[in-house]
Amino acid sequence: MLTLLLIAIPLFMSGAIFLMGARMARQLALLAGIAELLVTLTAMYLQHTGDTSGLLTFDRQWIGPLGISYAFKLDGISLVMALLTSLLTPIIVYASFNRTYKNPHVFYGLLMLMVASMIGAFTTTDGFMFYVFYEFALIPIYFMILIWSNAENKAKTTLKFFLYTLFGSLFMLVSLLYVYQHSHSFAFEDLYAAGQALSGSEQGWVFAGFFIAFAVKIPVFPFHTWQPSTYDAAPTAGTMLLAGIMLKMASYGLIRIVLPMLPDGIAEYGSWALVLSAISVLYASGMAIVQKRYKLLIAYSSIAHLGVLSAGILSGNAQGIQGGVMEMLSHGILAVGLFFVYDILESRMHHDDMSRMGGIREVNPKFAFLFFVVVMGSVALPLTSGFVGEFLLLLGLYQYSAILTGVAGLTVVLGAVYMLRAFQIMMLGSANMHTQNFAPLTKHETTVLAIIVALVIVLGIYPDPILSLSNPTVETLLGTH
């Protein structure tokens, strides 16, 4: 029932915000986000105490003869993903308080709608419902970018984004249906069994369909081309939602659906996907190094980190998956932090050209410090949340292939290169004519950054609650094959 509540709160609030009009929109959205977080924490507590009252699951038949059910379950991995969503939602809403959006009730209404569908995708145990939620999340974000973007070519960018992801998802639909022909039910358990019973080459094809869908969304080279332009065009809250939560649906899908369903397909025919992920790391890191604009640099760095994520998950062992879960949470938080820094820069200087910055630390040391911690998390320094995830991912990948680990491991080295260089250009040195009037952080900006910094450090020092939460589920998933 709690899972239903998690979907119902944002859904209901979305309607309420839409109808209440512009005045209270963002306060209501924040309220919904906090309520969402409280429900998730309750669910985590119940899970921790080994609750068996059935509050964490829900299962009702929807279209019986077609084997589709409204089935939701909050197990370890789903809980971490729900935590990611419900933790970031209030932060993203609160972070957008310093922006005034036109028609805020529509904006926040769409945002809540998106949260509902993402939670749905993270908690359902029915393949059909997963597809529906996965697809539906595209609609609100599409309109958020189309309506509230300031970019000149937004129509073209959003069209590319929409078509690209839709096109990818359709491959997933074909694969899903192919397995369904054998299982006649969309329950994950049945899909796993039917998928494993397929021959190796069949699994390979089905895997290809799923991987193309997920690779577009993660994104993995060469399916990433929509991502930088979309991040660039989207309003900050939209970018945060995309990078922080929405794209995690794809890596979650890899863990939840692909790994347990197609073990032979990945083992025999899946190496190309790992190679692509590794190329993705190299390519995106290289692109990040040559970027002149901060937002694009972050966009490419995101691709690099997610390349490691995808490779680590596909290596298919406990460390890889655990690392994946941890990295999804950590990357979500860091991405929101990094894009919030962009928002702060942009609101003051109206551009994000790094070469025209410099010396901001001199003017505003507090901002520089908070930014520095986020950068450290992003380059996976030990004792930050980024380290735990990436270390486990690389450990998992090492068991699969040492060479790929070497390539993917470059993300840490190259990440340090471009992140530290960016930090140096933007923050260090002496202030120039553009930066000397850099306004101090407002109270609300400090709060948001401080929360993110605190999360990065706490999860880095003490990741155990998250890891032990997801561990039993990871073992069950691996145990099924």
């Binding site: 609609i139 069209l159 929409f162 078509l163 096109f167 359709l170 249906l177 192919y178």
Partner: protein
């Protein structure tokens, strides 16, 4: 029996109303009549009534017929309510148009309930002849005249081919009755050559009517030339009726078809989907775009006919209803928008619609997304039913074509959506009546609700 009487008498009643100069009563009478048609169909459910059995019992109101009658009536009610003001301008022929459309609807009901090939032919003609007139009803418009003329010539040709096919079938089986045909075919080892030719000719006739490739050439011109309101009628009810008729003949009576027909169907579907979707991409007129989109949906619906063993009539019905509502909505918005822009139906006419009339823009957006098959809108489920059906028949290539063309279709639907959300300078508001506004809202809601209420479909026994 009540159903066929109600719909026939309603048409005559509308003509009488005009004679008595009681024009204000027109709309209430039509809506009332259609509502009673729905009510009767619901009451007769499961009764399997054969009206006028003493005259050979050529119609049968089983659940299939009643279900389609309800679907047609619901779409027709929406059609009358949403378009009634578009005839306030040239009021002289409004009654004719209403009466003709009801007669056409009568043909649709016959096509869903026939049990005899003669009745099928009559149904098709009752459906088509008023349509030829309707397509040309904008008398001063050259394009409309051209549309009516083209439709008439090619429609008659198709009817002739169909009739020839029916004759050949009768020649080899000695009966017009669907049940008798089915029994005879079941008793035969395989189709005789004459039957194959007959069936093929019937298929070609139908292919003209439902406008699937390679017999689709007339459709874009006719759809574009006819008044938008009539185009909406043709794309929804007429197409639905043709599919209902086709389902009864091909899936129920002529089953099992020779293997070659499955191939023919697959080729027709594939061609239709590719031609219509690729051509739609380059259209600048949104009306022509919707015409091509209508072709593409015909391709999808044909998937139900092709997979005769597994196809279930209620899923076809769901598709007809879902597409009907979405398409009607889109055409109605197009009609309102273009009539204000002096008949301009290019993409630019839609610019800034979200400011000029948010309700219409919202309804149009949801309809287009539903037609593109985005969950959780009913259009997704409709396409999903087709694709699962085709896939379970093992036609993977066709599934891939369906999927790819769906993605292409999203592109051109989005082009319209983007236009609506592109702001423009000094845009005046577009005003529509409260009645239309509420119809738009109801349609939008229906498209969402139908998705979630799809489980109800499983309760229906056909």
């Amino acid at each position: 029996m009540k159903e066929i009487l109600i719909i026939s008498l309603l048409g005559i009643l509308v003509l009488a109303i005009d004679l008595l100069k009681l024009r204000k009563l027109e709309l209430p009478v039509i809506i009332g009549g259609l509502l009673s048609l729905v009510a009767c169909s619901v009451m007769d459910w499961d009764k399997n009534e054969i009206p006028f059995a003493q005259y050979g019992g050529m119609l049968q109101f089983d659940n299939f017929a009643l279900g389609f009658t309800i679907v047609f009536s619901v779409i027709a009610i929406g059609w009358y309510l949403i378009t009634f003001d578009s005839y306030s301008g040239h009021a002289s022929n409004r009654t004719d148009i209403y009466a003709l459309s009801i007669f056409s609807l009568c043909g649709a009901v016959v096509m869903a309930s026939y049990t005899n090939l003669v009745m099928l032919f009559l149904g098709i003609e009752i459906l088509s002849i008023p349509l030829y007139v309707l397509a040309a009803s904008d008398r001063k418009n050259l394009l409309s005249n051209e549309a009516g003329f083209k439709y008439f010539i090619l429609g008659s040709l198709a009817s002739a081919v169909l009739l020839f096919g029916i004759a050949l079938l009768y020649g080899s089986l000695g009966t017009f009755d669907l049940n008798a045909i089915h029994e005879k075919i079941a008793a035969m080892p395989q189709y005789s050559a004459m039957m194959i030719i007959g069936t093929a000719m019937i298929l070609v006739g139908f292919a003209f009517k439902i406008s699937v490739a390679p017999f689709h050439m007339w459709a874009p011109d006719v759809y574009q030339g006819a008044p938008t309101v009539i185009t909406a009628f043709m794309a929804t009810i007429v197409k639905g009726a043709a599919f209902a008729g086709m389902y009864k003949l091909f899936v129920v009576a002529l089953h099992p078809l020779p293997d070659a027909f499955a191939k023919a169907f697959a080729i027709m579907i594939g061609l239709t989907l590719i031609i219509s979707n690729v051509t739609a991409v380059v259209q600048t007129s949104s009306k022509r775009l919707l015409a091509y989109s209508s072709l593409s949906h015909a391709g999808f619906m044909l998937g139900f006919i092709m997979m005769s063993e597994n196809a279930s009539a209620k899923y076809l019905m769901f598709y007809v209803l879902s597409y009907g509502i979405a398409s009607l909505c889109a055409f109605a918005v197009l009609q309102h928008v273009s009539s204000i822009q002096n008949g301009d139906d290019s993409m630019t006419a839609f610019k800034g619609l979200v400011k000029r009339n948010p309700v219409m823009a919202g309804a149009m957006t949801v309809s287009l997304l539903s037609m593109a098959g985005i969950p959780p809108l009913s259009g997704f489920l409709a396409k999903y039913y087709v694709i699962t059906n085709v896939m379970s028949g093992g036609h993977m290539t066709l599934v891939i074509v369906m999927i790819l063309t769906s993605a292409i279709s999203a592109y051109y639907y989005l082009k319209v959506i983007i236009a609506m959300f592109t702001p423009i300078e000094n845009a005046g508001r577009i005003v529509v009546g409260n009645l239309q506004k509420s119809i738009y809202l109801i349609f939008t809601l229906l498209l969402v609700v139908m998705f979630f209420a799809a489980s109800l479909l499983e309760l229906i026994e056909m």
